[in-house]
């Protein structure tokens, strides 16, 4: 049902509260909701991190902030996080490549929290070139990013057997 204006004469003082008023209101609400759904899907995306990291080091416990720090300009909800690999053929790999995204209300990340219940990871038991992870699961509690919050990508697991030249990281959200 298309949007239709509600004539002011319908709600002048003394007018009966007729069914057609409510029919029009419902129809307009349905129409607006439908259009909002479309707009929301089209232009609402927020790229927090989207790039590659070169010469990933090893022999440490965690690599923090390799992609810098993202400060949210407005509130949004995290919807996707992916880690990807390129050509990894050659070494005899084992272990896992895994990233984390920490959220903090300030630049002091000492009390930061992970936004994941399952961090994006790729198993290196038999890695396939040019693969992206598909296993990220966001925490219902921590997936919402407020205006002024900070996000940081950490690498908290690296495979052994070689040195990763390049990895891809993408973290996106939607205004909610």
């Amino acid at each position: 049902m298309a949007f239709s204006s509600l004539a002011s004469s319908l709600y002048n003082v003394g007018k009966p509260v007729v069914q057609s008023i409510f029919s029009t209101l419902k129809g307009n609400q349905d129409d607006l909701n439908s259009r909002l759904l479309t707009v929301e899907g089209a232009i609402n995306k927020i790229d927090c991190f989207n790039g590659i990291l070169v010469n990933v080091a090893s022999g440490v416990s965690t690599i923090s902030g390799a992609f810098g720090i993202y400060e949210a300009q407005s509130a949004f909800t995290l919807t996707d996080a992916v880690v990807g690999i390129f050509d990894v053929s050659g070494p005899s790999w084992s272990g896992t490549l895994r990233i984390d995204v920490q959220k903090s209300s300030s630049l002091d990340f000492s009390s930061s929290v992970s936004v994941f219940t399952t961090k994006p990871s790729i198993s290196f038991s038999s890695p396939t070139n040019y693969t992206q992870s598909s296993n990220a699961a966001f925490s219902l509690v921590n997936k919402d990013v407020g205006a002024g919050d900070f996000l940081r990508v950490d690498i908290d697991a690296l495979p052994s057997g070689g040195v990763l030249g390049l990895i891809q990281v993408k973290v996106t959200g939607e205004a909610s």
Binding site: V13, Q19, S20, S34, L37, G41, T117, S160, E174
Partner: protein, 846 residues
Amino acid sequence: MSSTYETYSIRERSEKVTLCHVEPLERLLLWTLDSGSVYYRDVDYFTIDVREGTTSLTEGSSSSLSSGEWFYNSSTGRLYIRTSDDTNPNTKNVNVKYRLFFSTGPFSLPCDLSAGPDVYYEPRLKDASAVNKQLDDEQIGIALESSTNLSFYNTDGYFDEIIDSLIWENKTVRVWSWSPGVALSEKKLLFKGTIEDKGFSDSRASFRCKDAIYKLREPFPLERFSVSDGTVPDAYLDTPKRQVYGQFDNLQCVPIDAIKSGYSITGTVSGNVGSASITGLGTSFLDEISPGDELTWSRDVEPLTFTVASVNSDTSLTLDDELEDVFTSVSVTNKPARPWRKKNREWHIAGHKLREPTTVISAVAQDNRVTVSDSTDFEEGDLIDVNGENAYIRRVFGSDIVLEQNLGSTPSVSDPVTKNPISQAYIKTREAFIDRDWTVTNGTTDSKIVFTDTAERNVARPKLLSGSFTFTNGSRTVSVSSKDAQNEMQTRDWIKSDNISHTTYYEILSVDESEIVLRAAYAGGTNTGGATVKNVELISDESLITVSGSGLERSNTWIKAAGSIVNDILQQEIGITDVDAAAITEADQEAPYKMSLIIPEALTSEPPIVRDVIKNINESVFGSLVNDGDFNLVYRVLHQDKPPTLSVLNDDDIIGFSQRFRNKTYSKVKVKYRPFVDIFIGENTFKFYEFSSDFTSNFVEASDELEKTIHLYDENDAQSICQRYALYHSLSTSTISISSKMNLMTKNLGDKLWLSLDRLAKRFGNRDRQKIGVITKISKNGDAVSVDINDLGNTFSRVMSIAPNTVSDYTSADGDERLFNAYVCDNSLEVPDISSDKELGTNLIG
């Protein structure tokens, strides 16, 4: 004889007749072979049913019977039977149900008062007391049981032979009102029920009867936990399994995989006198046993119990004391000092299937936006499975679903989508996650949550430890320096190296100050550095496990609204099938609120009686369960709408009336809704909402407060109901008692009446002498009807109703239109006609 009951009922003089059917039972023997497998005997009374035991046979159309049939010849009084297996009925338990016919006058009428053969109605019915129907609460509730006393003449000894020899108790009785001046089809059912008691004297016989509503006093039927459900702790054995309607939050689960006094370990063990060593055969000591555990050998004489000092390998352990007996290849049970992570995996949720709808994708917009073919019962916050991948729903609009996050792989048209019956699960205060930590078994008779054996490890927070931890490839020993490991971890905790390439956690067997022993050999490269530890809180028999999800599913339908729940209870749980289906549908439309009803409310409590459960539902939605004119059960939701089909009752239509007012006003209403278990204190609680009525405080100056528990799930619904309680209790309630002729015979509890009486107190609002109210009490006998009409705190006059599109504006409307319709009010003066203040306080949102 062509007038209707309505025209007959308003006549000054008319012959009023009461008709009665009573259906006693008798067991019969002395059958005579007729031919083949057909037997007969003569009976004294009209037969309507023949049973083998409790199974009714089929009524045939003649004496030529097939197996399992019977035939009664009403002309000759001969009853024929052919048993289900063609054997002699004298060897079986054959019961016959008769129908006896009584009236207040002699008549020859059909045996079924319709098209059956005529029978003689004995003019023995002395009188039937008035049948009373009343709600047990003025505004909502359950009809109190209708009852009647039937009295029959017995001066000629008619009942002497049969009052004690036939079975009358719990047998069906029906009573009608009729007149020879109208067609038999116009008869009105006054009462349908069963005989509760009988009385006898040389002059009369009597029966005290009650209707089906008395069945609501039975306990709610629930299955109970037994040993067949698994290893159930004694505290839960023989207690009722939960039944849950609607949606629930943090429902406490019951362990059915408990440790109790111990679990049997794999394999057998042997030991010698004077030795503290135990040798295993086929054992898995490293997995199943820890230092400090108690092993028990249950032998014929007194059981032998030992405490474990250390576990050396899968087949060797050391006790803390030397043995005094020898044993070889015996089975032992282990009572662990810390729970074992492979027990207490299964937890019982409810004694039925939980709602688990499925649909398919019909269109894909993006990785987190899909359209499905049927989104019924898919809601915001649900956890759904999209072709094997789990995701939470952020929003549903029509058939479009927006997910909280993108799916890992783009879905396809026709991919299946299933709503998980459980959306969240907690191990004490920590949330556990689907697939990684738990799965659900959703059977038709039981629903269970099953935890993985790493669930506790997964939900535990990692703790980084500095110091020097040396993990050696192939070894179970981790050496520790510059840290007292005993202060940081214990058996059954988990540890991993902090090297970025070492991601595997290892379960700890034992800890001392400078050494940690693992249950499995370290497979990573030898490494010295820090460590990450997870101190796990293992699930025990007493752990608090709670889940949130969707309640009972019956025949692929989510039973979540009040009307459907009441219908399910009546039909499925206590077997009352005479329920008005159309009324249930309408009740669900009027009160579509999602309930959160848990039976029993507290674990291990005995089930409540059915009546109390329905009362709780009624109080949540302003519902009423009443009998209609045919004594079918009707569920209604009370609301202030004024059906345009109402016809007015004037002074000429009644004998008399009286009006009384009752002040039951409250300035504040507090409701408890959405029951749940507080996972931090482990106790049952509710969400709370309270509403203060400025109108009642300022104008009525009431100060009393009302508290209610309403079993609704959604906050918005709870607020609406709470505010509605406040509205109903913001002014005095008026009850108008009316005595009438037979013209109100067709009315029932919950019906609305429109009164226009010359001396009715002028109503709030338009100040005319009209009022609409709802019947809360009705009394009928063969001669007269009296009703009580309640105006719900004058809300019928005060609350707006949506009007038809064609009605007049307020200034042109007559009194009838102003009674039925609502009008737009002035923003400041709040009246539809600024030249008058009569309508002040009307046109409210109800």
